[in-house]
């Protein structure tokens, strides 16, 4: 997966590469659902089906050395930031070959070498640390940006407000990416926030806010580039507000009693970022099937890799408590 260097428009070839990566995330997540239902995967699993364009659009806009902090819905961000499907799947199976060596699991995915500083299972938990990582870059004069992903539910928690306030006050090179899928678990935005435009929360701190259609990966990429350039050039943090859709439940097996079957069907039919991009790129059925078979192979191989991975010894639990 070649890194895109240019800042302007994307070529068709590049966009096809984005599409392939989004498809990889989609198929990976579907496989995770399948293996969870088969009883093979322990833990709490939240898949990012529907939100692939945000992960890919933002992560492809990053430079080497930039870092991210993710959320409980972390598989997409992790793959987009460069972790190999094998390493991610192995982590979900609790194997030593996993990206957190079996100590983290789905909600605590790390890949420090590739700049993934950890997925966080506490909503909003990673935001103050992204402010602090950006502070470290600023103090050392490094041209790096720290990027936090979080959902609309997180905009109600104290860490969100405290982290954004401090980041703007100190003008640190951070980008706060709101993946606004309009649901905090089962609670719709209308029940968790008194305002409809969550960008206003960032603007209240004097922070630059950029809104983007999170289902259009090209737009996400361009907006992310703009946000990253702003932050990297010392102008301060940016709030990147991506409207997106969670096409599935909060967790695997979620019966979604809180939203109607019609709505579930509607978002799948009309707000799937893969469908949108496939049409835009005019990918033929033949081309799609070839690409899909290729991606499926990668995903199937990751399951094989994971199943053949090494179980930690029970007493390995005592390692890594202290440095």
């Amino acid at each position: 997966m070649a890194k895109v260097e240019q800042k302007g428009a994307l070529s068709t070839e590049e966009l096809r590469d984005f599409f392939r990566e989004m498809l990889l995330i989609r198929r990976f997540e579907e496989k995770v659902e399948e293996r969870f239902r088969a009883g093979e995967l322990p833990g709490f699993l939240h898949v990012a089906i529907g939100q692939e364009a945000v992960a890919v659009g933002v992560c492809r806009a990053l430079e080497d050395g930039d870092v991210i902090a993710s959320t409980h819905r972390a598989h997409g961000h992790t793959l987009a930031k460069g972790t190999m499907p094998n390493e991610l799947m192995a982590e979900l199976y609790g194997k030593l070959e996993g990206c957190s060596h079996g100590y983290g699991g789905s909600m605590h995915l790390y890949d420090v070498e590739r700049g993934n500083m950890g997925a966080n299972a506490v909503v909003g938990g990673g935001l103050p640390q992204i402010t602090g990582m950006a502070l470290a870059f600023q103090l050392r004069g490094e041209p790096r940006v720290a990027v936090a992903f979080f959902g609309d539910g997180a905009t109600n928690i104290g860490t969100f407000h405290e982290a954004l306030n401090l980041a703007q006050l100190w003008k640190v090179p951070a980008v706060f990416v709101l993946e606004d899928n309009k649901w905090a678990e089962s609670t719709p935005e209308s029940q968790h926030s008194p305002i409809r435009d969550l960008s206003k929360r960032a603007e209240a701190f004097g922070m630059t806010a950029i809104k983007v259609d999170g289902q259009d990966v090209e737009e996400v990429y361009k907006a992310a580039k703009k946000a990253l350039d702003h932050a990297r050039s010392g102008k301060g943090p940016v709030f990147l507000h991506a409207g997106t859709y969670r096409l599935v439940g909060h967790y695997i097996g979620d019966p979604q009693v809180y939203r109607s079957k019609e709505e579930q069907q509607d978002v799948r039919q009309h707000h799937d970022p893969l469908t949108f991009l496939r049409q835009k790129l005019e990918i033929t059925d033949e081309e799609f099937e070839e690409m899909d078979a290729d991606v499926q192979e990668v995903v199937d191989a990751s399951v094989e890799f994971a199943k053949n991975g090494t179980d930690p010894r029970p007493e390995d639990a005592m390692k890594n408590v202290y440095a």
């Binding site: 983290g104 605590h108 890594n320």
Partner: protein, 327 residues
């Protein structure tokens, strides 16, 4: 040898580390121009400037989290939490984040952050500015916890905390800031996890922390007048705990009192008592006695506050109890 107060000793350790190392910086509420609510960081803004002596908003979650984030990226920040009570506001970041990053990442992440805080009774600050909460943090795998009681110890241990690659919660006691001591010209780092025997004795071991070290030493002097020889041991680091030193002392004296200012019930002393009874069961001549605060929030009225927290006389009473049980 220069004489330093406990307050000056903290400042000395911070300043020396910052002179030596660009990665060390301090942040907290009112620490810059004002020099901190206890005056610990006075003068440091002038020497190091606002980039490295960073005033923060009243925003404990953000300041704790930002310190953690900077540490994860290789800095060695020292964050001041103005009062121990306000640790409650930063606990999510300290307990769920700082303590667990290394573990959850399977050893990929290092979090060399120090959280300095202070508290304790004595000035009638009331129930929200005087708690002793060290036991909460000792309970969390992944954190180190330090509680020095003298200028020499606070200086040497703070240095070691800053240079430890783990998150450290560093407790200072408010009433100790003024105590003075001659300290070596050069700062001598004190390794975390080493207890200090303040006074050797034969009849009873008092294991004390923070202000109670000084109360225990006063009680030991009183006991000596009655012909009782008391050994006073300060663990100094609560996690990792120098269990061997505590057990060895009790094996020598056969009696043990554990003393701290925090509430007795479920306190740090309960764990020490468990460790000592297990490690020195056959040597014990009396049940282990615990000394600590009564099970109440700290009251405001000085007479009530004074009554709730332990003093030298309470330690002496406990010493005598361990002796009486055996006669």
């Amino acid at each position: 040898m220069p004489e330093l107060s406990y307050r000056e000793a903290v400042r000395d350790a911070l300043s020396r580390a910052m002179r030596k190392d660009e990665d060390v910086f301090i942040m907290g509420e009112d620490i810059a121009e004002m020099g901190g609510s206890m005056g610990v960081t006075q003068g440091m803004l002038a020497e190091f400037g606002p980039q490295r002596v960073r005033n923060t908003p009243i925003s404990e979650m953000a300041l704790a989290g930002a310190a953690i984030g900077a540490a994860v990226q290789g800095m060695r920040p020292v964050a001041e939490i103005m009062y121990e009570d306000f640790l409650t506001l930063a606990t999510e970041q300290i307990v769920n984040q700082a303590a667990k990053h290394r573990y959850m990442s399977g050893g990929q992440v290092t979090v060399p952050v120090t959280f300095r805080t202070q508290g304790g009774s004595g000035w009638s600050p009331g129930a929200q500015h005087a708690q002793q909460l060290e036991a909460w943090f000792v309970h969390i795998p992944g954190l180190k916890v330090v509680f020095p009681s003298t200028p020499t110890d606070v200086r040497g241990l703070l240095w070691s905390s800053i240079y430890d690659d783990n998150p450290v919660v560093f407790f200072e006691h408010r009433t100790l800031y003024g105590i003075k001591e001659e300290v070596p010209e050069e700062l001598e780092p004190i390794p975390l996890g080493k207890a200090r025997v303040h006074r050797e004795g034969d009849d009873v071991t008092v294991i004390a922390t923070g202000r109670l070290v000084h109360e225990a030493l006063a009680a030991a002097t009183d006991a000596e007048n009655d012909g009782v020889s008391v050994e006073v041991v300060d663990p100094r680091t609560l996690q990792p705990l120098d269990e061997d030193a505590l057990i060895a002392s009790v094996k020598k004296t056969n009696r043990c009192v554990v003393a701290h200012e925090a509430v007795t019930r479920m306190g740090f002393g309960a764990e020490v008592a468990a460790i000592v009874q297990h490690g020195a069961f056959d040597w014990l001549d009396a049940p282990i006695e615990r000394v600590g605060a009564k099970f109440t929030p700290l009251p405001f009225a000085p007479v009530m506050e004074e009554w709730c927290v332990p003093h030298a006389k309470d330690v002496l009473e406990a010493i005598n109890k361990t002796l009486a049980r055996n006669t």
